[in-house]
C-alpha cells in the first residue's frame, strides 16, 4: 500500500510542481496569449464537460481509435511482408518514404476529393499517417529475429502461419509495440489536423477555430484536453502492451530480482 502511494507520488510530483509554477506565473501576467491557468480550467469545464464531450470529443476519439486500429493491423501486416519479401521491400520502400515526406497540406485535398469530408476521410488520413511508424518498426523488428530461432522453425517444418504468429511476430513484439506507441502519438496529432479542413465538430475543429479567432483561452483549454486524453490513451496502450509482452517484461524483471 505504501509502495503504491509512493509510486503515485513519484509520478505526480513533477506535474504538480509544473502546474503550480504555471498557475502562479500566469495568474500575474497580463499576456493575451498566456491567460491565467485558472481561466483556462474554468473554460475547460464550460467547454468540454459534458455536452461537448459527447458531441465533439467522442467523435474525434472514435475517428482516432478506428484510424489507429487500421494503422496497427495494416502496419504490422505490411511491415511483416516487407521484411520477409525482399522484392516487395525494394519496390515499396522508396514509395513509402516518398509518401511519408509528402506534406499533409498536399495530401488532405486528395483525400477530400476521393472521400469527401465525413468520418471516412478523417479516419483514412489518420490511418495513412499513423501506419508508417508501425510498418518501419515491424519491418526492423522482424528482420532482427534471432537466427537460432529461425533455424529451429525451419528444422521443425513450421508452416508460414506458425512462423508468423509463433516466431516472427512475438520476437518482433517489443519493437512493434515501440512503433505502435509512436503511431498512437501520430494518430493523435493527425486527428487534430484532419479536422482542420471540412469539419464543423471535433476537438481539433474547435481548438483550431479558437486559435484562428484569437479565443486564446479556448485554445488552451483544447490543448489541456488533448494532453489529458493523450495521457489516458497512453495508459490504456501500456496496459495492452503489458498483457501481450508479459513474457518479455517478465524475463527482464526476473533478472533484476
Amino acid at each position: 500500500m505504501t509502495r503504491r502511494l509512493s509510486l503515485v507520488a513519484l509520478e505526480l510530483w513533477l506535474p504538480v510542481v509544473v502546474l503550480l509554477g504555471w498557475w502562479l506565473w500566469s495568474a500575474g501576467a497580463a499576456e493575451p496569449f498566456f491567460p491565467p491557468l485558472q481561466e483556462i480550467l474554468t473554460r475547460f469545464r464550460e467547454m468540454w464537460l459534458f455536452e461537448q464531450f459527447v458531441s465533439d470529443v467522442l467523435p474525434s476519439l472514435r475517428n482516432m481509435a478506428v484510424g489507429f486500429g487500421i494503422a496497427s493491423v495494416v502496419g504490422i501486416a505490411v511491415g511483416l511482408v516487407l521484411a520477409r519479401v525482399r522484392l516487395l521491400r525494394e519496390a515499396f520502400e522508396p514509395l513509402m518514404h516518398f509518401v511519408r515526406a509528402t506534406p499533409g497540406v498536399a495530401l488532405v485535398p486528395i483525400f477530400i476529393l476521393l472521400l469527401g469530408f465525413g468520418p471516412s476521410m478523417k479516419i483514412s488520413i489518420i490511418a495513412t499517417a499513423a501506419v508508417f511508424p508501425t510498418i518501419i518498426a515491424t519491418m526492423d523488428g522482424v528482420r532482427s529475429a534471432d537466427p537460432v530461432l529461425l533455424d529451429i522453425s525451419r528444422a521443425y517444418q513450421l508452416n508460414r502461419r506458425q512462423r508468423v504468429t509463433k516466431v516472427l511476430l512475438p520476437s518482433a513484439g517489443p519493437q512493434i509495440f515501440a512503433g505502435l506507441q509512436v503511431s498512437l502519438q501520430v494518430a493523435f496529432v493527425v486527428m487534430i489536423a484532419s479536422e482542420m479542413l471540412g469539419s464543423t465538430e471535433g476537438i481539433g475543429a474547435l481548438t483550431l477555430l479558437a486559435q484562428q479567432s484569437f479565443a486564446v483561452t479556448d485554445m488552451w483549454s483544447g490543448i489541456v484536453l488533448l494532453g489529458l486524453l493523450g495521457y489516458l490513451v497512453n495508459l490504456l496502450f501500456l496496459l495492452a502492451r503489458g498483457r501481450v509482452l508479459h513474457w518479455y517484461d517478465g524475463a527482464r524483471k526476473a533478472a533484476k530480482e
Partner: protein, 312 residues
C-alpha cells in the same frame, strides 16, 4: 524584429520587418519599396511571408515583426480577445462608389471584389437567403469570408445561424462544389474563375456588400511599438501613404509587382479584381465593420475603432 542599434543599416536606414499574406495587393507594397518611398522615410523593409493574418498578428504581438498586413475582421477578432494592436495604415480596400456600382450591376462584382459565393449552376440557390440550412465552405472559420457571407445572408432575409459552415482550402472547395459535397463555396480569385468555368454560378459578392468604401486591408503594429517608437511608426505610415497614392495611380505597375512577388503570371493577377489603395484609414469604416460583427454575433463586446488608429 526588436528595437535597438542593430536595426540600422550601413546607409543609416532603419530595418523594419513586415509580414504579409500572399495576396495580390501585396504588389503595392513591393512597388512602394521599389519606388523608394520607404527609403525616403529612412526605412529598409524586410518582407516575411506568413500563411494567414492570425499568424502575422501573433508575430506582431510577440514583437517578432514590426508590421503586419491583416484584413479588418481578423484584426477586430484579435482586439476583442485582448491583443494590443494599432492600425498604422491602409493596405487595400474599395474605391469610393464601388458599392453603388456593384449594386447597380452585379456582373461587375468580380472586377472590384475578389471574393464571391459560387453555387452549382443547376442548383436552385438564387440569392444569399437561400443559403440558410445549406453547407457552405469557407477557407477559415470566423474570418472574412464567413462574416461577409453571413452578413449577406442576413441582409437578404436569411438566418446565418442556420448555415453549416465548413472549412476547406480553395482547391478542395472547387472540387467539392463540383461533386456536390458542398452547396456553396466562398472563394477568391483565381478560384472563383475556376469554379465558374467548371459550371458554377456566382450568387453574390459578399465583400463589396459588406464593406463600405474605404480600407479593408490594414497595416498594423503592436501597441507597444506604437508607444515606444512612434517616430518609426510614423515614418512607416508616411511611406505607406505615399505608396498607396502611387499605386492607385499606377495599378498596372502594382499588378506587375504582385506577379513578381507571388511568382505567378501577370495574366493571373490581371484576371483578379482591381484593388483600390486608400491612402488613409477612416475610423468610421472600421467601426461599421465592428458594429456589424457585433450584430452578427462574431464579436462579444463593443469596440471603439477610433482609439485603435495610430496617433489617435
Amino acid at each position: 524584429g526588436g528595437g535597438g542599434e542593430e536595426r540600422k543599416t550601413e546607409d543609416g536606414l532603419t530595418v523594419v520587418t513586415v509580414a504579409y499574406t500572399p495576396i495580390f495587393s501585396v504588389g503595392a507594397l513591393q512597388l512602394g519599396i521599389d519606388q523608394g518611398f520607404f527609403e525616403e522615410q529612412g526605412l529598409q523593409v524586410e518582407l516575411k511571408q506568413v500563411a494567414n493574418p492570425p499568424s502575422g498578428i501573433a508575430a506582431v504581438a510577440g514583437d517578432e515583426v514590426d508590421f503586419n498586413y491583416t484584413p479588418s475582421i481578423p484584426f477586430l477578432n484579435a482586439i476583442a480577445n485582448g491583443v494590443q494592436l494599432e492600425i498604422v495604415g491602409a493596405a487595400d480596400g474599395y474605391a469610393e462608389g464601388t458599392k453603388a456600382e456593384v449594386e447597380a450591376d452585379p456582373a461587375v462584382g468580380l472586377k472590384h471584389d475578389d471574393t464571391a459565393v459560387v453555387v452549382p449552376a443547376s442548383s436552385g440557390i438564387e440569392s444569399a437567403a437561400d443559403l440558410e440550412g445549406k453547407t457552405v465552405s469557407v477557407p477559415a472559420r470566423g474570418a472574412q469570408l464567413e462574416v461577409t457571407i453571413a452578413a449577406a445572408i442576413e441582409a437578404a432575409g436569411g438566418d446565418p445561424a442556420k448555415v453549416n459552415w465548413i472549412t476547406l482550402d480553395f482547391p478542395s472547395a472547387v472540387s467539392s462544389l463540383k461533386s456536390g459535397r458542398v452547396d456553396a463555396a466562398g472563394l477568391v480569385v483565381p478560384f472563383v474563375t475556376q469554379a465558374v468555368q467548371a459550371g458554377g454560378r456566382i450568387i453574390t459578392s459578399p465583400g463589396v456588400e459588406f464593406f463600405d468604401d474605404g480600407a479593408i486591408g490594414l497595416w498594423v503594429s503592436s501597441a507597444a511599438l506604437a508607444k515606444e517608437d512612434p517616430e518609426l511608426v510614423k515614418s512607416f505610415e508616411a511611406a505607406v501613404e505615399a505608396t498607396n497614392e502611387y499605386a492607385a495611380a499606377h495599378v498596372a505597375e502594382a499588378q506587375q509587382a504582385a506577379a513578381t512577388v507571388l511568382k505567378t503570371d501577370l495574366a493571373v493577377v490581371q484576371a483578379g479584381s482591381v484593388p483600390a489603395f486608400p491612402t488613409t484609414v477612416d475610423p468610421a469604416d472600421v467601426q461599421s465593420v465592428a458594429d456589424r460583427m457585433k450584430e452578427l454575433g462574431y464579436l462579444k463586446k463593443d469596440i471603439d475603432a477610433a482609439s485603435l488608429v495610430f496617433g489617435s
